[in-house]
Subunit: 197 residues, 2 copies
């Protein structure tokens, strides 16, 4: 629904045509989420089908312009005034992956974690580099800056979580070892998983 709602919100500012909508969307997100033009047109068609926007034919420059309808305006308001639904939080691929990794013995969880952390830290650096631009004060750059910050905050949380997982697994492993042999807390990081099988 993101694209759909975003386009609707952009149209709320006034009639636009397809290409223009893509440009504005990417402006506000600094190209973080490139938007295929094709999708703009298909989405516009679906919005029109659902009675949320209305094709206004061609304007003076020969552009096919769309405008939001009354029902569409209601939807925008509803979108902005309700929180992002967390009833069923979006399936997070990484969480699912680790959840399965810890219970599928043939996989070395330690490696998965380490390598994910590298990737995430690399991404974090990219974001920081990008952040040096995007510090202006006009709404566009403000928006982009916030989007970037969001990515940063998420990446940081991801790294913290990965660290946390590592520690938790190490603890679980040493407890298991503790019950079996009489090994100590030293527990090499790499040996957290390939115990079973």
């Amino acid at each position: 629904m993101s694209v759909r709602n975003a386009l609707l919100a952009l149209l709320e500012q006034g009639p636009r045509y397809g290409y223009q909508l893509r440009a504005e969307f990417e402006d506000r997100t600094g190209g973080t989420w490139p938007l295929n033009v094709g999708q703009v047109y298909t989405t516009l068609a679906r919005l029109e089908r659902d009675g949320l926007v209305e094709g206004k034919g061609e304007d003076g420059d020969g552009h096919v312009v769309y405008a939001v309808t009354a029902r569409g305006r209601e939807e925008v308001v509803a979108w902005f005034s309700s929180p992002v639904p967390r009833t069923q939080p979006p399936r997070e691929e990484l969480a699912i992956k680790l959840a399965l990794a810890v219970s599928v013995p043939a996989v070395d969880v330690g490696t998965v974690i380490q390598q994910q952390r590298s990737a995430t830290m690399a991404a974090l650096q990219d974001y920081t580099r990008l952040k040096r631009r995007a510090t202006g004060d006009d709404p566009h750059e403000l928006a982009w800056g916030l989007v970037l910050d969001s990515l940063v905050f998420n990446a940081e949380a991801e790294i913290r979580w990965l660290d946390h997982c590592e520690a938790r697994l190490r603890r679980a492993a040493s407890e298991r070892d503790g019950r079996a042999s009489a090994s100590v807390e030293t527990a090499e990081t790499t040996s957290s998983q390939e115990v079973a099988r």
Copy 2:
């Protein structure tokens, strides 16, 4: 691709049938992401179409069992040994929403933020409550515990980001005001946006 990959990973542990796959998936995620059975069957069909699993007909109990193929096993290994792709990070609805809110004048960003924060904090409490269970040591509960932690870390990051956005917006607003009138830093929280229009 999450469901698809997850099912493949589960099958890597040995042949399973549809219903069983759903049960194991929900076990490992503590029902965080309920999985409609129908989707298991459609996904299995698609996996078979792509040659990653193979229907083994009925077993002794009359269950339609599927097994992973050689190509399927390769895919699982590839999945686990490559980081979650961040080439084009998943569109985050919340970030998009705020990015648009700050540049669509008719919206009061402050309200959007506050109300999102309430919702997220409520979710956070739910997670903490759930967390009191799911502290066992067997792989299942371990997995679920980590998934829950992931949700917690993400929610916390979201709240931090929302706070950050508020501060950033207040700064921008006061700079704007500063240039126009000679208002002070006191800046009521609620007045960050409804300046324009």
